[in-house]
């Protein structure tokens, strides 16, 4: 049996010929999809961490727990959603260069660091070491 149109199994398409400015591999779309999923995983992890943070901090800080956790997480989620949207728009069609957004990456890194430190400081200060 040949791999023609009558085959029961889907036949992998041959990678397209290399085009200048585009990737030479055949998995261009998968690269974008992987990165999109990585952003979604990170967003989900941020949301879970935020929910856990509010839960842990509420007995210690009261309503201030929401104030510590919600604004930075909101910015993080907006940054992630913007990048994911840009990647999603690239999913259709061949892989074109997806310019990195280093400013957004810097915001994500900075807020992850500061929010984690704020939550940790609140816990360490409020709970006596002994």
């Amino acid at each position: 049996m040949t791999g023609g149109a009558s085959s029961r199994w889907p036949v992998p398409r041959r990678p397209a010929r290399p085009v200048p400015g585009q990737t030479t591999g055949g998995d261009g779309g998968l690269q974008v999809e992987r990165t999109l999923l990585a952003w979604r995983r990170t967003t989900a992890a941020v949301l879970v961490a935020g929910a856990g943070g509010v839960r842990l901090l509420t007995p210690l800080l009261g309503d201030w727990a929401w104030l510590v956790v919600t604004p930075p997480l909101g910015v993080l989620v907006i940054a992630a959603a913007g990048r994911a949207g840009a990647l999603r728009r690239r999913l259709a069609g061949p892989l074109r260069p997806v310019p990195p957004w280093p400013g957004r990456l810097a915001v994500v890194a900075g807020l992850a660091c500061l929010t984690g430190l704020a939550m940790a400081a609140a816990v360490l200060i409020r709970i006596p070491a002994g």
């Binding site: 585009q22 990737t23 030479t24 591999g25 998995d27 261009g28 690269q31 974008v32 992987r34 990165t35 990585a38 952003w39 995983r41 990170t42 992890a45 941020v46 961490a49 856990g52 943070g53 842990l56 210690l60 892989l95 074109r96 260069p97 997806v98 310019p99 990195p100 280093p102 400013g103 990456l105 810097a106 994500v108 890194a109 900075g110 992850a112 660091c113 984690g116 430190l117 939550m119 940790a120 816990v123 360490l124 709970i127 070491a129 002994g130």
Partner: protein
């Protein structure tokens, strides 16, 4: 109205400068797959940071049956690592993107060894704290 589109008669429009200049002013755009892989590595470090912060905070907040001094020490180590991981994420992304643009070999993750050693120390601290 006639628009002159002859590029030989007018200078080519300069590409907008991208931040940070010390990365984007050198070399040329790499294969997009490599840039995307670099971005995924950045995100993996961010998730690692979240996990480290969560572990450190949970160790203290959940009142686990671990000797308090050792528990606090382990939590502080985890929190410090959690704060260092986003720094590694950002610096690692910059260094890797620069290496990709220049066609050089990729830099190793600077935090990999300290992270492994510190996690082993945390494990020992918690184990001793549990046995006390």
């Amino acid at each position: 109205m006639v628009v002159d589109t002859d590029s030989s008669s007018s200078p080519a429009p300069e590409a907008p400068r991208r931040w940070p200049a010390r990365v984007f002013d050198r070399g040329e755009d790499p294969d997009p797959r490599f840039s995307l892989a670099n971005e995924r590595t950045f995100l993996a470090w961010i998730r690692t940071s979240l996990a480290l912060f969560a572990a450190g905070i949970a160790l203290e907040a959940l009142n686990l049956p671990v000797a308090p001094g050792l528990r606090r020490a382990a939590a502080v180590v985890l929190i410090v690592l959690g704060a260092a991981a986003p720094v590694q994420a950002w610096i690692g992304w910059l260094r890797t993107e620069a290496a990709l643009r220049l066609g050089r070999s990729l830099p190793p993750p600077a935090l990999a060894l300290p992270l492994g050693v510190a996690l082993a120390v945390v494990g020992v601290l918690v184990l001793i704290g549990l046995l006390r």
